[in-house]
């Protein structure tokens, strides 16, 4: 029981950046803008967040800086792929490299700790929040453990991330903005005909992506860890992308996909080198590669079919 709770607790912690990045990608891709630059925006956000928090001593300033820089990069992506109708994949790749290089160079130049930012402590970090009654309920069997060990005791951004799931669902499927956003990803010409600006709509979607990747970055460097380490996203942006496809571009399945991939990650660390029941010893590399393998199998249509938004990746050219 204890082991299971620990494992699930770790799962939640590693799933959060995936979930935030995955929802970020959801807004953009649902609006027809492919974004493989999630990784770069998250990395830049993590760096900006940790730097600003280290200098100012406030986690909130860090969070704002993370969101600001991620939105800026998202706007670069928008400028290239919406305004100039450039290749969205190429633009995303470019942003990943710019973020990967500049976080190291600037980190080294500003803090001189080999690409790290100074360690954060106290108010410069988002600390764990004890939910009301967590202490009182701790001794209640099962429910008490689940509530006080699993649900309570995370940092603010963890709760924000999970609340973003119903919120995103509500925005996409219950608001006018969401309806238009989905429409512009399926058939931009129809949206244009209805007198709604495709460009402005897509820019707003891209900004949403920026905000959420900024949160994901801030979580990594200001909440989960106490500072920025070079290349700290380590492919999480791509796993989030895989989760997004795995979830067929839907918010609630996205949460489950991220939890699944997070669980694989947590379990591979927890059980490293230990034999598994039935299958025996599994190399840790196989478990690391599992999210990607599963996504490929899904994409190939062997288990269900993932159909991307129809206008995804295609720049919109207004009819003349």
């Amino acid at each position: 029981m204890d082991l299971l709770v620990q494992l699930l607790d770790a799962t939640i912690r590693v799933s959060v950046p995936l979930l935030l990045a995955c929802l970020a990608g959801l807004y953009s891709e649902r609006a027809g803008i492919f974004d493989i630059g999630l990784e770069g925006k998250m990395l830049a956000g993590a760096f900006a967040g940790a730097s600003a928090a280290a200098v100012s001593g406030s986690a909130w300033v860090g969070l704002l800086a993370a969101v600001a820089i991620a939105v800026l990069l998202a706007l670069v992506h928008g400028f290239a792929s919406i305004t100039h109708r450039g290749n969205q994949i190429v633009s995303g790749v470019a942003i990943n490299f710019i973020a990967a290089g500049s976080t190291i160079i600037l980190g080294q130049a500003w803090f001189r700790q080999g690409g790290r930012t100074p360690a954060l402590s106290g108010d410069a970090r988002f600390s764990a929040i004890e939910l009301p009654g967590a202490e009182a309920l701790r001794d209640v069997p099962v429910i008490g453990t689940i509530y006080s060990d699993l649900i309570s005791g995370h940092s603010l951004l963890v709760y924000v991330a999970f609340l973003m799931v119903p919120f995103t669902w509500w925005v996409l499927f219950r608001t006018r903005f969401g309806l238009r956003l989905r429409a512009v990803g399926e058939n931009p010409a129809a949206v244009d005909t209805a007198g709604i600006s495709v460009t402005w709509l897509r820019y707003r979607a891209v900004i949403c992506t920026g905000i959420l990747t900024g949160l994901a970055g801030a979580y990594l460097s200001v909440a989960q860890n106490a500072g920025f380490v070079k290349d700290m996203t380590a492919g999480k942006g791509y796993i989030a992308l895989a989760a997004l496809i795995f979830a067929k571009w839907k918010p609630v399945p996205a949460m489950f996909a991220c939890l699944l991939f997070g669980f694989l990650d947590a379990a591979s660390i927890r059980f490293q080198g230990m034999p598994w029941p039935v299958i025996g010893k599994v190399p840790v590399q196989l478990i690391n590669a599992l999210p990607f393998i599963l996504t490929i199998i899904l994409l190939a249509g062997f288990i269900g079919k993932a159909i991307p938004p129809r206008a995804g990746g295609v720049p919109y050219v207004k009819e003349r």
């Binding site: 492919f34 493989i36 670069v76 400028f79 290239a80 792929s81 100039h84 109708r85 450039g86 290749n87 969205q88 994949i89 190429v90 633009s91 790749v93 470019a94 942003i95 990943n96 490299f97 710019i98 973020a99 990967a100 290089g101 500049s102 190291i104 160079i105 600037l106 080294q108 130049a109 500003w110 492919g235 791509y238 992308l241 895989a242 496809i245 190399p283 590399q285 196989l286 690391n288 590669a289 990607f292 393998i293 996504t295 490929i296 994409l299 190939a300 249509g301 991307p308 003349r320």
Partner: protein, 379 residues
């Protein structure tokens, strides 16, 4: 503006616009240098001197360029078929298996000139097979090639860690790498060519795979512009609909183009493994597969553009290493930024300056645009 991408004279289209894009990318990189408190002009001087200042430096520059010619050609071939092969990194990495298995098997029995062709075949074959799966999935199952090739990069990394740690590492060793190859698994250096030109080279890893890279550049040119298959690849890339109408099989072209692309990326593994280190270590590709994207975009997917673009990036790699000595604030990661900026300005934003330049051309000499002056403002 009725014709957003009206025709420009050839020299402007293939010379001026790429040059402007490149210039903007380097100006932006200069701003980053300013941001870390160094002088960009001095940095540029150190960089160029570090890349071409001596025979030794030139040899290193060409050694790095060799990697980028292979990966640049790989990306370019896929581009011609309208496919974005972002998986060059993984294809090159996994092709290291082909190279080192051949070298490990034959280095004690065959001379290098017999091992080399076998290793080329091994590298190309493994790289091509690693590209075959995403190509097949795109052609037959409709998965997006960009996504699958990204995923395959990660899978390749996992496979290689497993192979090096659990299979290929000699039991007595600590570091996850293969044993050192004997003479039969070592490629001859080319430094004598530079020395014949009066330059002095102490010891640089420039080796015969550089010549192979140049041969491949000619091969790609001949393939794309002088063969029937190349014509089909270009037609398919230009307009899949027209290709289908002309009876060109979509899945055949997708699979063949991706396998050629993967094979070219795979050959990159020869250069560091057999040419320089004489063993296979973790992460020997070191991002060269991704640099290939920038090289192909900069070289406009033509070998005549790709070879100089690869040498430019070789210069950045070698010069960047020298720069890190002189300016400790600037490490080799500066290249990653420049690479990103080049991809952004030469790739995603390649049309940004086009309207301005067109207006300029139209007002200066309407006839060079092939349109009478009066019609420029037509609706």
């Amino acid at each position: 503006m009725s014709t957003p991408y009206a025709k420009l004279p050839g020299w402007a289209d293939y010379g001026l616009i790429p040059l402007i894009n490149l210039l903007v990318a380097f100006i932006m990189a200069g701003l980053v240098v300013l941001l870390v408190g160094e002088n960009p002009l001095r940095a540029a001087v150190i960089l160029v001197d570090g890349a071409f200042g001596s025979g030794q430096n030139i040899a290193y520059t060409l050694y790095y360029a060799t990697n980028f010619i292979f990966t640049g050609l790989a990306v370019a071939v896929a581009f011609h078929a309208g496919l974005f092969n972002i998986g060059g990194e993984g294809q090159a990495y996994i092709a290291g298996l082909g190279v080192s298995l051949v070298a490990l098997a034959f280095d004690s029995v065959l001379p290098w000139w017999l091992t080399f062709p076998l290793a080329i075949a091994g590298a190309a074959l493994v790289g091509a097979l690693w590209a075959l799966i995403p190509a097949y999935l795109q052609a037959k199952r409709g998965s997006h090639i960009v996504i699958t090739t990204i995923m395959f990069n990660f899978i390749a990394a996992s496979v290689m860690v497993y192979m090096l740690v659990n299979v290929l590492k000699p039991a007595a060793e600590q570091a996850p790498q293969t044993r050192q190859f004997l003479d039969g698994g070592q490629l001859p250096k080319l430094n004598f060519i530079l020395e014949a030109l009066g330059l002095s080279v102490r010891s640089a890893p420039l080796n015969i795979s550089f010549l192979l890279a140049l041969v491949m550049a000619v091969f790609v040119w001949a393939l794309i512009w002088r063969t029937r298959l190349g014509y089909e690849i270009r037609t398919f890339g230009f307009s899949p609909k027209a290709a289908r109408y002309a009876g060109i099989s979509e899945s055949r072209i997708t699979i063949i183009a991706m396998m050629i692309s993967g094979g070219l990326a795979g050959m990159m593994a020869l250069n560091p493994i057999m040419g320089d280190q004489h063993h296979m270590a973790l992460d020997f590709v070191a991002g060269a597969g991704f640099v290939g994207i920038a090289v192909a975009l900069m070289g406009r997917s033509h070998p005549i553009g790709i070879v100089p673009a690869a040498i430019l990036f070789g210069m950045l790699y070698q010069g960047g290493a020298e720069l890190a000595f002189e300016m400790p604030n600037i490490s080799r990661d500066m290249i990653v930024i420049i690479q990103g900026l080049v991809i952004l300005f030469a790739g995603a934003l390649e049309h940004m300056f086009r309207p301005t330049i067109q207006t300029l051309f139209a007002s200066l000499s309407p006839r060079s645009m092939g349109i009478p002056a009066a019609k420029t403002g037509g609706a």
